[in-house]
Structures are given as C-alpha cells and as structure tokens.
Assembly symmetry: C2
Homo-oligomer: 187 residues x 2
DNA sequence: GTCTATAGGCAGATAGAC
DNA sequence: GTCTATCTGCCTATAGAC
C-alpha cells in the first residue's frame, strides 16, 4: 500500500503554507498569486496546475477548521444545554481554535476572506450557531453580552505566541467560563 | 464668526462615511474608489478633489481613534501602575472603543489596513503599549495571558449591536476586570 | 509540473475642460 | 466641484510549448 493518496503532494502543501503566511500579513485581497509564486521560486502560471483559482487557496486553508467547528456544534445539539454542557462546548471550541491557530490568526482579521460565500459566510453562520448554543434559554441582555465577551476571550488566543498556547490553555478557559457565568469551568 | 472651518465640508464627510461602510464589509483592499464614487453618485476622479490618494481615506477615518488611545496611554504613564489605575485604564479604553465603534468594527478585522504604516503600525504600537501598561511588574505567564484575554473582552464589543452598547458597557467592563485580576472593577 | 506569452480587465492616479 | 478621457501598471486566468 504505497499509494500516495490525494494529500501528500509536497508542492501543494508548500503553496498552501506560503499562501497562509502572506494572507496573514497582507490579507487575502492584498496578496497576489505572483507574490506567492515568487516566494516559492516558480511562476504564477504554475500555481494553476495545483489550484484552479485563487479563492480555492482560502477554501482549502479554512475547510479543516470550518469542518471541526461544524462537528462541534452538531454534537452539542444532542445535549440538554446546561451549564456543564456549555462549558464543555466552550472548551472544545477553544481547543479547536488552538489546534487551528495559524489559520485563525489569518481568518480572524481578514475582511477579504469574510466576503467569500464558502468561507466567510459559513464561518459567520457557525459562530452565530455557537453563540446561540452558549446562550441559555433564560438569557437576558447582560447574559447575551457575556456570551460575546466569552467568545472574545477565546478569539484573543489568535494574538498569542503559538509556543505559549499549551500553557495558556487552562488560563484562557477559566477566563472564558468566568466571563460566561461567573464561576470556573464545570465538569 | 460664520467662518466655515476646515471640517464642515459635507461632501467630504459623505465620502468618509461611504468609505467606512464599504471598508467594513469588503475590506480596504477589496474596496475600489470606483465603488465609493458610484455609491455617492459621482465619478472616481471627483474623489481626488477631496482626497489626494486612497490611503488618505483610511488615515482620516482612523486618526481620531488613534489620537484618543494615544492620549489615554500618555495619561496612564503618570500613575503608579496599581490595580485601581489599571482598571481605570481598561475602562477608559473601553469607553474610547465604544465611542469609535464604527471605525473599530472595520479596523479590528482588516489586514489590509494593518499594513499601512500610519494606521496599522501605529495601532499595533499603541495596543502593545496598552498591553504593557496593563501588565503589572510582578506578572507571570498566566497574568500576561489574562491581559490578552481582558483586551479580547474589550475588542469583542466591535461585534455588538451599536444600539446595545450603552447598556452593555458595565457588563463588559466587569468581565474585563474580572478576567484581568479576578475581581470587579476597582475605583 | 513548470515554463513563456498573452489576453482581458480593473485598479489607482493625473490632465485639463467646464 | 465634478466631469471626460487617458495613462500606467498589476491583477486573475488561459493557451500551449517543453
């Protein structure tokens, strides 16, 4: 079974890595295919052998995270919506955020990517679903604000040093849960 | 004294308002001068009567907030750096964030604008200065993470409904201070 | 799998009429 | 203060050689 499979194309992964790096610094709209190709040492036309269009780069880069969050929310629908359940959802979202840190550093602050229907719109819908899952049935205005703040705490890890993330994880989770309902993580 | 002054040019303000609206949705790089002009009912060339270049739009839009934060930090340097002082800084930063909400909704998630030396770089330096002012002298790794989380709470108000901001303000401040040092706002 | 060459379009910006 | 017309350059994307 030495079959290569569809995901071990080294060049393809190099393209995605360089694209992510440039997208993160310059934004999606601010990065040209010529820049990506130059960084890799070949020409812009060669990119079109690996990817059919520019937006397929951002689609491929973000799909793993989008799928992970999608699964997260689907699973949470099975529960009762109690505090322990919401804390678990928050923790799972944080862990997904950490393990996809590089992509989120880009996605979190790129209005250009948010325009894309298969990326920005889907991400928007998922975060909205998450927001609703975290908002208890007895939520007043202040509680809804606290949900937004708790998500803000999670999103803040996009700005942290990746090397510090494993150590920071529990501190962030405690902060998020405390913001959400005034007490440390349950469960 | 019926002198008009330099700031009552209606057309100029309309241009800035439309630019901010489009920048917020599409990003700076994703918005063309043609789009801005079309929305206003005149041509792209007319914009150049009011503004010398595209980037002057983003400079004018963001300068008020940048100046406000700059003042904030300058004032905080006079204090002793105690907890009450840090809470006051957090509150002041939140209030500036709220009163410049529209600009921050844009600036907070636009990598294109962050590239600009007079905007993104300056904003980066200011937030870094704020981060340092909020980090106490006896700060360990966890404390530094909590500073980042507290700022994340403030930044989350960029995603809130503007109409809800006055009511949300105290809830957000309490969340930010609790994240920072485990207790409600001092002072 | 990468290349050269090029099509076709739209960007930011300028000149000068009105 | 706004217009038309135009310049220059870079963009995405394609065609076809190697």
């Amino acid at each position: 079974m030495s079959t290569p499979g569809p995901t071990d194309s080294t060049t393809r992964e190099q393209v995605l890595a360089v694209a992510l790096e440039l997208f993160t610094v310059q934004g999606y709209d601010g990065t040209s295919l010529r820049q990506i190709a130059e960084r890799l040492g070949f020409t812009k036309a060669a990119l079109y052998y690996h990817f059919p269009a520019k937006d397929s780069l951002v689609i491929e880069l973000t799909r793993p995270w989008l799928d992970a969050v999608s699964n997260l929310i689907a699973l949470s629908h099975a529960g009762d919506g109690g505090v322990a359940e919401r804390d678990r959802l928050l923790a799972d979202y944080l862990d997904v955020f950490i393990s996809h840190h590089a992509v989120l550093r880009f996605l979190n602050q790129d209005a250009g990517a948010h325009k894309h229907p298969d990326v920005g719109k889907r991400a928007q819908a998922l975060v909205e679903a998450l927001r609703q899952a975290l908002t208890g049935p007895d939520a007043d205005a202040a509680a809804r604000v606290r949900v937004a703040c708790a998500l803000g705490v999670i999103h803040a890890v996009a700005g942290l040093d990746p090397a510090a993330l494993p150590e920071a994880r529990d501190t962030v989770l405690e902060a998020a849960c405390t913001v959400l309902h005034g007490s440390p993580p349950a469960g």
